[in-house]
């Protein structure tokens, strides 16, 4: 997978302004409508390559551009400039081909929450051209491997905990056996045990499947454990890239005992403190 000079800027208007006294009434509304939107640079000249079979981490705080980058690769956004290829297919010109090779787990387990896990998975199987019976059998295997009680797969998803829902999201992404798996903060908000189970499974699929993983996270310990290489992103720009071991060697001078962490490196390259999980929920 290759990204070359990717850029994405959004034009936004702060809708909360509509509630301020200045923008009340028809005059205020017209003033709001006439106001210029503010450009927000979400991804700024991002270039990197991911080797086949690699687990590549994108690390950054809330609003750093991680999810925008994932959406660009997932063919859900059009870049303003630059290009990205997923195993030889351009994400803009050949997005249909790219969609056959990828799947994604996002920070929010997005499902029809009134439907059961099995109904949601059956629907996903149909969209990916899989035979539903075989696909649901495979999904149940994945769910059981993740410590999910098989019987709960037939009740409404809304009655499951967030951790359980996220496991169903992982199963949905995995049962299509994607060549590229985009994991957008898949363990955010999970309890330590669920987090561990999902992380173990990511390592397992890398060793057993023909799957390349792009993982975004703000959990440095997770990135250290799972990723072959990591890239730090801040304000839409990549500010450091390398294997966790290489980066730690490069920045060993930051601590007298040499036991430098990825958080220390982030602080060094951005001049910013690493936010806690509660501050960095979503992107």
């Amino acid at each position: 997978m290759v990204c070359r000079g990717l850029r994405k800027t959004f034009l936004t208007k702060d809708e909360t302004r509509l509630f301020s006294p200045e923008y009340r009434g028809l005059g205020g509304r017209l003033k709001y409508l006439a106001s210029r939107p503010t450009p927000v640079r979400a991804v700024e000249d991002v270039s990197f390559e991911v080797q086949r079979g690699e687990i590549f981490g994108i690390l950054g705080p809330n609003g750093s551009g991680k999810s925008t980058l994932v959406r660009l690769l997932a063919t859900l956004l059009l870049p303003d400039a630059g290009s990205a290829e997923v195993f030889g297919h351009d994400v803009v010109r050949e997005r249909f081909a790219v969609r056959r090779l990828i799947n994604r787990v996002s920070v929010e387990a997005s499902f029809f929450k009134r439907l059961s896990s099995m109904e949601n998975l059956r629907y996903a199987a149909r969209l990916y051209g899989l035979e539903p019976r075989e696909a649901t059998k495979r999904a149940l295997e994945v769910l059981e491997r993740l410590g999910f009680d098989r019987h709960k797969a037939y009740g409404p998803l809304e009655e499951l905990s967030r951790g359980m829902q996220q496991k169903v999201a992982v199963a949905r992404a995995l049962f299509t056996s994607p060549v590229l798996l985009l994991l957008d903060e898949p363990t955010t908000g999970l309890d330590p045990r669920s987090k561990r189970e999902v992380q173990d499974f990511v390592l397992e699929i890398r060793s057993t499947h023909d799957t390349t993983v792009l993982l975004t996270s703000h959990d440095m310990v997770e990135a250290d454990r799972l990723c072959d290489r990591v890239a730090f992103i801040d304000g839409g720009r990549l500010v450091a890239l390398g294997s966790p071991a290489d980066l730690k060697r490069r920045f060993a001078h930051l601590r007298p005992d040499g036991r430098v962490t990825l958080e220390d490196i982030f602080l060094e390259v951005t001049g910013k403190e690493w936010p806690g999980e509660e501050d960095a929920d979503g992107d």
Partner: protein, 307 residues
């Protein structure tokens, strides 16, 4: 980027990875370098996706069965209320009742198609599933026709139930009616309604809440200009050109002719042909409008979860 193809893929489900391995084994991988080719989904896969949308909406109908019952009863009572107006109109009471009932039922049917197609986009944005649906390797036409297919089946079943209930309530005599002809008109007009629904679906794609509001306005204007409860000649002259381009005008006219006057297929043919022509124009136009909306949403980041 690596050119090697890893040989291990577990699971018995045909996958893109399997295709990559197949290509490597047949020597294509060398020629294609690092390019991995997923299996091209054929007609069977696209048909499977259409079934997927129908199945998904059926699951949702079952889960919200209580509400479905409420909507059905409401629709039935609403139709009866409108039909009861005819009891105070001088002349052929039965004919007038059926005239209004046809308007109410066709209006209900059109609303189902409009809502199912456009609101399912809004619903997916609220649930956050829209990115997953748009990311799936299926054609947009397949996605939209899947939603429309369920709407047509659901709308037809609901309309038949309401018509049956109203016929029993008023003891309507449908002996001379051309029911098959009316059904044929409904089927052909559905295609045109789908075209309108596809255009309406673009609104929630651009803005979830405001889009749903815009859809309702569009639907209300069609109600006004199509003569659901009156002849379109009663409309002000400046509104009448709109009734001429609304497929609902011709659908109402010919269904009334079939049910009230027992018009045969030959008599219905001009309107059926006209409706088919409108459908031929509106469906590709609706797909094009939706495609433009999708491209705009991809440029501005509107596909994200909303709500």
């Amino acid at each position: 980027m690596e050119t090697e193809t890893r040989p291990t893929t577990t699971g018995s489900i045909p996958t893109a990875a399997d295709s990559a391995r197949d290509a490597a084994e047949s020597g294509q991988a060398a020629a294609e370098s690092a390019r991995v080719t997923g299996r091209t989904p054929g007609l069977r896969a696209e048909l499977g996706a259409v079934i997927g949308f129908v199945e998904r909406n059926w699951y949702l109908t079952k889960r919200y069965f209580g509400w479905e019952l409420v909507f059905l009863v409401y629709n039935m009572v609403n139709t009866l209320t409108i039909a009861l107006i005819a009891t105070h109109v001088p002349g052929d009471r039965g004919r007038m009742v059926l005239y209004l009932v046809i308007g109410a039922i066709l209006w209900g049917y059109l609303s189902v198609i409009f809502h199912d197609v456009s609101e399912s986009v809004a619903w997916e944005r609220w649930e956050g599933t829209i990115e997953y649906t748009f990311m799936a390797p299926i054609r947009r036409a397949t996605h939209l026709f899947g939603m429309c297919a369920y709407a047509i089946v659901y709308g037809t079943v609901r309309s038949v139930i309401v018509l049956g209930a109203v016929a029993l309530f008023f003891r309507l005599d449908l002996a001379g009616a051309n029911l098959l002809g009316a059904l044929a008109v409904l089927v052909v007009s559905s295609v045109a309604f789908i075209g309108l629904g596809l255009m309406a679906a673009v609104f929630p794609l651009l803005s979830t809440e405001k889009g749903a509001q815009a859809t309702h306005i569009m639907e209300a204007v069609i109600l006004l200009v199509s003569g659901a409860y009156y002849s379109v000649t009663e409309l002000p002259r400046w509104l009448q050109p709109l009734s001429a381009v609304s497929p609902a005008t011709y659908a109402l006219r010919s269904i009334r002719a079939a049910l009230l006057d027992g018009a045969d297929f030959a008599q219905l043919l001009p309107d059926i042909a006209l409706l088919a022509g409108i459908g031929v124009v509106l469906v590709p136009l609706g797909l094009w409008v939706f495609g433009q909306g999708e491209r705009y949403a991809m440029r501005t980041g509107k596909l994200k979860r909303s709500g």
